[in-house]
């Protein structure tokens, strides 16, 4: 079986494969002995089955950026919640959610 990550990288970097229809792409993948999970993922248009194949249990947190509040450096403050009224005249860290 060909390595799934390598196949994903190859699809992602090939102009003819990146936008190929699911049927055509799966036709190509069949010949390379791609995993059944990768072919299911292609047919579904999402990576759910790959998470099973790769043993990924948890969907990771999408890193978020801190909410920027003007007037104060986020790192100058403690981590506790800011009163609502302070969230604007300060870059209060409690409101930070950027990665």
């Amino acid at each position: 079986m060909t390595d799934t990550i390598e196949l994903l990288e190859a699809i992602g970097s090939d102009a003819s494969l990146r936008y190929a229809s699911a049927d055509i792409l799966n036709g190509v993948l069949e010949q390379t002995h791609a995993s059944a999970e990768l072919m299911t993922a292609v047919a579904a248009g999402n990576g759910a089955s790959l998470r099973v194949e790769l043993g990924i249990q948890q969907v990771p947190q999408t890193p978020q950026s801190p909410t920027q509040l003007p007037g104060q450096e986020p790192d100058e403050e403690e981590e506790e919640e800011a009163p609502q009224s302070e969230r604007c005249h300060s870059d209060h860290p409690s409101s930070l959610s950027f990665q």
Partner: protein, 278 residues
């Protein structure tokens, strides 16, 4: 592609930091320079939104350390992000070449890459940020609009609630992190919908509630298509949103001529003509 005609330089013993972007789509967006920073690093830290992308990154370097485990239920995100900065700085201070890999562009709606570079510079280390293809870049391509045509404002959604901001409805409005508005730590009681209702109310000051709103999710795997959902501003209050979606409001009003400025320009042009004729 790796450079094969020149030897790479390696100054040993002096820590060096790079924060690079992996781009949005696995296999499609990583720049040659970002890849080189990854490959040449002694240690790689990863803050990616997709565990499959993390697997891909592990193929490029034997010591990839995920920053994901530093999130915890009830823990303020900013605390997690400060820990990330501290981890990268600690390795840098031991003289290692450290590479922080972030999804998209490492400097767009991202706090820790800017922070760690600032801190590294303050302590005298060489530190760079390498741009990556961000959700912003993908959305111009997938939604087919040019930010230069009518102008385009970008806001972190909750800033519109906390702060007085002027929205220009003649241009595009791009709102980031709408899906996590009102939610400052992982697993915390989610005030999301209540906050979202207020966000819609705030936007209602500048747009009719029937105005089109686009919910956009760019492809992170090369077997995916972008997801583009069109709803009304009113519906934004209730629609399910993930942390991976960006909200776009197209222009609601036409560009208005600036009559006073146009008159002044005419006067200027006329004077120039007179001068040329004299």
């Amino acid at each position: 592609m790796t450079n094969t005609i020149l030897p790479s330089l390696n100054v040993p013993g002096r820590g060096r930091l790079a924060c690079v972007g992996l781009g949005m789509t696995l296999g499609s967006h990583l720049t040659p320079l970002a890849r080189s920073h990854i490959v040449q690093a002694d240690v790689v830290f990863a803050a990616l939104s997709d565990a499959i992308a993390e697997e891909w990154l592990k193929r490029m370097h034997p010591d990839v350390r995920s920053l994901q485990p530093y999130y915890a239920e009830g823990k303020p995100r900013i605390k997690t992000y400060r820990e990330w900065v501290a981890l990268m700085m600690a390795e840098l201070r031991t003289g290692k070449r450290v590479c922080g890999v972030f999804y998209g562009h490492p400097g767009i709606f991202a706090w820790s890459p800017h922070k760690v570079i600032e801190q590294a510079h303050a302590e005298g280390y060489e530190a760079h940020m390498e741009p990556g293809i961000s959700a912003e870049d993908s959305l111009y391509a997938d939604l087919g609009f040019d930010p230069g045509r009518y102008g385009c404002q970008h806001f972190e959604a909750s800033q519109l609630l906390y702060c007085e901001r002027r929205i220009d409805p003649a241009g595009y409005l791009v709102l980031w992190q709408v899906g996590v508005i009102g939610n400052r730590s992982v697993g915390r009681f989610d005030a999301g919908l209540a906050y979202r209702a207020l966000l819609v109310e705030r936007l209602g000051q500048d747009y009719p509630l029937e105005h089109e709103v686009i919910i956009y999710r760019g492809a992170t795997l090369p077997i995916e298509r972008p997801r583009i959902q069109r709803i009304t501003l009113r519906e934004l209050a209730e629609v399910p949103l993930t942390a991976e979606e960006t909200v776009v409001l197209p222009p609601a009003v036409t560009l208005q001529p600036n009559r006073a400025m146009l008159e002044r320009l005419q006067t200027l042009d006329a004077r120039e003509k007179e001068g040329a004729a004299a």
